[in-house]
């Protein structure tokens, strides 16, 4: 693949700098399956001409992030099963591909936003393993504040 595509991953970029252009040996990526890697590369290929994110961006001070308006290609790209979605997030995290990580995380966050607790359970197949007393206590503690 093109170097510009691979360098969307800061991890790969650093590895390539360390190894040098002349070396043709394969780079092992034990934490990423072939299927997910394919998806990740699809993203990198599409975004290869984007300006690279500024590593000094302080995320604590970041104003409203660009990810809030997800572009159309990205929105279609990220329409995948939950399982694939989480694998993409983990891969993007490991490979340090900020745009893809932001896209994946924002997608999950939007799925959760505004949903009630039972709706969230149903969506992610979460088992309610509280006793009724526990559940009631936490409801009392959190409910009023959750509509912020």
């Amino acid at each position: 693949m093109e170097k510009a595509v691979a360098e969307r991953s800061v991890l790969l970029k650093n590895m390539l700098e360390d190894v040098g252009d002349s070396d043709d040996s394969p780079i092992p990526l034990p934490n990423v399956t072939a299927a997910i890697l394919k998806k990740v590369l699809e993203y990198c290929e599409h975004h290869k001409t984007d300006p690279l994110p500024n590593p000094e961006e302080d995320k604590d001070n970041a104003p409203i992030r660009r990810g809030d308006d997800i572009e159309e290609w990205d929105a279609q790209f990220i329409k995948v099963d939950n399982e694939i979605l989480f694998e993409i997030i983990l891969a993007a995290n490991y490979l340090d591909i900020k745009g893809l990580l932001d896209l994946g995380c924002k997608t999950v966050a939007n799925m959760i936003k505004g949903k009630k607790a039972q709706e969230i359970r149903d969506m992610f197949n979460i088992e309610n393993d509280f006793t009724p007393e526990e559940e009631e206590q936490i409801r009392r503690e959190n409910e009023w504040a959750a509509d912020a």
Binding site: L11, N14, M15, D18, P28, P30, E56, D58, K59, D60, N61, A62, R65, N82, E83, F86, E87, I89, L90, N93, L101, D102, C105, K106, V108, A109, I112, K113, G114, K115, K116, A117, I120, R121, F124, N125, I126, E127, N128, D129, F130, E134, E135, Q137, I138, R139, R140, E141, N142, E143, W144, A145, A146, D147, A148
Partner: protein
């Protein structure tokens, strides 16, 4: 009949201590193999798979780092609703550090009276803002549901292991302590060669000494804003937070919020209560003018367990750090000797270290035994001031609640190193904040400083360039070792040339898989 229980003593057993138990019942992952899965009265701990469902694909670090502690990704309300979904999510969403991040993100320094946890502080502050009031706001009562997690348990361990055990407070000290030094003696024995020292007769003469404490500061500057990491807050707000840390015996958090403020001089009259020690009176960045010099002085206040992880001071400057109240544990490694567990990038622009200073002490302190260069190790106490020469890697842990003043400076002893640094690494110049103007000031620091030095130090700028060029030539000509820029390194390094060149800063960090 009363059962007498043996007094709880902390014993260091290959890194472990008996700790008080976690409010949510978090235990290390390995314990899952031994626990019987519930006796007669006890329910098994929360099941991660069932309690997270499809979210279980993300490990605890990812769930916390990418979502729960990321207010710009996932809103607070979502976390509060997630917390009601299952016991596993109850524990994860209840991690108090999540609520520290969210409280500061949402309310900045105006988070009001500090409750007994960040989550309760958040709730109380939110409640105060709501119209109409949504009934009573009772503080959370932790439910001990049980959860196995190395990630969470490690953080818990870092926060609750007794500090004197964690930081080896009784380790032998190997720093000079001096009093009655003339300025020339200080220069000859410490500043010129770049050797740390504690001076014991300076701070004790300050008006601040014996006068300053948290109560005094709250009374005199309680309404003034100070900087604590990412927020500005009134001193009284910070003081209430510090009080909670103290009430928990210094085990409230893994890395307490640290007050580190550079504007106290213009916002208060506190600088009238101390003076720059005569040994440090030369301050060449002063030539740049007050508005165009890098940041140079801070008041530092923090509870026990607050501190700074390993770092080099900015722009290759030297520093003095004076403890007015409290006690600071220091580890200092000589120039070009990187500490264990610390991984600077090849050019030094980035440094990778463990998540917290406590974690460094837990996981890396013992490596010092086999490290080629041993650090200076000491505790700087109230009334003492420590001199940190340029280029020394150091970390500092507050063993008690501490109030200190620190200043960085350029003088004749480190001028060459400073010029070299700001000339060769303008992108690593710091002390101007961020933004366009800051960038411009950082990029022009070398040219402005060289110009400012023309009158008093007409040759030093050219000399620095010349020695730098000849050093580069020597390296190119094939000598394996660069000429020592600092003779102190050789005092601390082992005697063979091979070993000392392996500790040179040129080794780059490589990820391992």
């Amino acid at each position: 009949m009363t059962v007498r229980r043996p007094a709880k003593k902390a014993r260091l057993l290959s890194g472990f201590c008996t700790l008080r138990s976690h409010p949510y019942g978090v235990q290390p992952l390995g314990n899952a193999l031994f626990d019987s899965g519930g006796g007669a009265a006890q329910r098994p701990a929360a099941d991660r798979g069932a309690g997270l469902g499809r979210l279980a694909a993300l490990d605890d670090a990812a769930l916390l780092g990418l979502f729960l502690a990321a207010p710009h990704v996932l809103d607070d309300g979502s976390v509060l609703r997630l917390q009601r979904c299952s016991r596993a999510l109850y524990v994860l969403c209840g991690v108090d550090d999540v609520w520290r991040v969210r409280t500061l993100a949402r309310f900045g320094g105006a988070f009001g009276a500090f409750a007994d946890s960040w989550k309760n502080t958040y709730k109380a502050r939110l409640h105060a803002e709501r119209r109409p009031q949504p009934g009573e706001c009772a503080p959370d009562v932790p439910l001990k549901v049980g959860y196995y997690s190395d990630y969470l348990f490690s953080a818990w361990r870092c926060s609750s292991i007794p500090l004197d055990v964690l930081c080896r407070a009784d380790a032998p000290e190997n720093i000079d302590r001096r009093s009655g030094l003339s300025v020339q003696e200080f220069v000859d024995e410490y500043d010129a060669p770049g050797k740390p020292v504690i001076l014991t007769d300076v701070v004790t003469k300050w008006p601040a000494f014996g006068k300053w404490n948290m109560d005094y500061l709250e009374k005199t500057v309680g309404d003034v804003e100070f900087r604590a990491e990412s927020v500005d807050l009134q001193f009284k707000t910070y003081a209430a937070y510090a009080r909670t840390c103290n009430e928990n015996g210094g085990s409230f958090e893994e890395a307490p919020l640290y007050l580190f403020d550079k504007y106290f001089g213009r916002r208060t009259k506190l600088d009238q209560d101390f003076s720059v020690p005569p040994y440090f009176s030369q301050d060449l960045f002063h030539l740049l003018g007050h508005n165009e010099r890098p940041d140079y002085r801070w008041i530092i206040i923090g509870p026990a367990r607050s501190g700074s992880t390993f770092h080099l001071d900015p722009n290759s400057t030297s520093a003095w750090n004076a403890v007015v109240t409290g006690a600071k544990k220091w580890l200092l490694f000589p120039p070009n000797c990187v500490p264990p567990g610390v991984f600077p990038s090849a050019d030094g622009s980035e440094v990778t270290t463990p998540i917290s200073l406590a974690e460094w002490f837990l996981n890396h302190y013992d490596e010092i035994k086999s490290w080629p260069v041993k650090p200076i190790e000491c505790i700087c106490r109230a009334g003492e001031v420590l001199y940190v020469p340029r280029g020394w890697w150091h970390c500092v842990m507050n063993l008690e609640e501490s109030i200190a003043i620190t200043q960085n400076f350029v003088n004749d002893c480190n001028l060459t190193e400073v010029l070299r640094f700001i000339r060769e690494k303008p992108d690593q110049v710091s002390g101007y904040g961020s933004g366009e103007k800051a960038c411009s000031l950082a990029n022009t620091l070398y040219s402005r400083f060289s110009a400012a030095l023309q009158e008093t130090h007409p040759h030093v700028v050219q000399q620095e360039i010349a020695t730098s060029r000849s050093a580069a030539k020597m390296l190119k000509a094939g000598s394996t070792k660069a000429p020592a820029t600092n003779s102190i390194s050789s005092l601390f390094a082992p005697s063979t040339e091979d070993e000392s060149s392996s500790s040179a800063s040129s080794s780059s960090f490589r990820f391992s898989f």
